[in-house]
């Protein structure tokens, strides 16, 4: 149930941000600091998500097959592969490493 509440609250929050842009006076969001921070937020959040979801399980830092998947994804992104190819290669690599090294 709390997951549903979180989902709906997050949906509302995201919607209000969209609506705010169309509604608020330009001056507020055009302040340089506000612009810089909102441009940097996706960078830090995505970077942290990549790190945490690759190198941790719960509250433990781990190095397992996901790291290999991410490395391949990195190469694919660098080679400008389409989004779905990046994701599929990462999953495939991880699955193959797991077959090769059980438990990783």
């Amino acid at each position: 149930m709390s997951l549903w509440i979180a989902i709906l609250a997050a949906c509302l929050g995201c919607y209000l941000f969209k609506l705010a842009g169309l509604s608020v006076p330009r001056t507020l969001l055009e302040r340089p600091k506000v612009q810089r921070i909102s441009a940097l937020l996706p960078v830090v959040l995505l970077s942290a998500l990549v790190a945490v979801q690759t190198f941790s399980t719960g509250s433990a830092l781990v190095l397992d097959a996901r790291a290999a998947g991410l490395a391949v994804a990195g190469i694919a992104v660098w080679r400008r592969a389409p989004f779905l190819v990046v994701v599929a290669l990462a999953a495939l690599t991880t699955a193959l490493v797991r077959m090769w090294i059980p438990g990783s």
Partner: protein
Amino acid sequence: MATGAYGISFGAIALAGGLDFWQTMALSLLMFTGGSQFGLVGVIAGGGAPIAGAATAIMLGARNALYGLRLSELLDVRGGKRLLAAQLVIDESTAMSIGRDSDRAARLGFYATGIGVFVCWNLGTAVGLVGASWLSDPSLLGLDAAAPAAFLALLAPRLRGREAWAVALAAAVVALIVVPLVPVGVPVLIAALVGVIAGLLPGRPAGTNDPADSDGPDHDGNDGGAADTRRHDGGEVDGRAEPGGA
């Protein structure tokens, strides 16, 4: 097409992350901003508290406010129409709107792209959900590595310039350092502080106290004022690697 494929991966990853069919569909229908959706699912999949997932999603959605700001003059919508148009304010619709020559073309680009992406994204999500529900153990197929790979693909177009790289690396290191120390899901929120602090620091060479007025190293002019709106080239929102409501 690309949006549908992206939606499929979202549906599959969400189901693997522990959300059910309607929770995932609610995200695609109501949240409709891919980066935030992946963010929420990622935190939940990692065992984080729902509230931490929601906070991550909302922060990732903050940039849509900036897009709306650019679009408000072009669209000039009021009342109920504004409430509907707001839901379509995403990377792709913004990119396909603010580069146009006339207001009419801009509006057409916005609505056609926004509605098209909405339909493809939701259909893709549903297909991904149904497809992934046939799998018994997602980790066997490496689907737990799919989410970070998706984040990496979303992150890459934003890594322009040394400052963006430095801030991204700092955020990753900080997040990993606090992993053993704080509840699951919270490291990502702590990393957000890195972004806030970096944003507050003067990011330009000495003498400039107005960093967002010129193209910062982490931007490509996408953060400028009204002056550059019409000649905007899509830049940060061009979405090569994020073809779908990101």
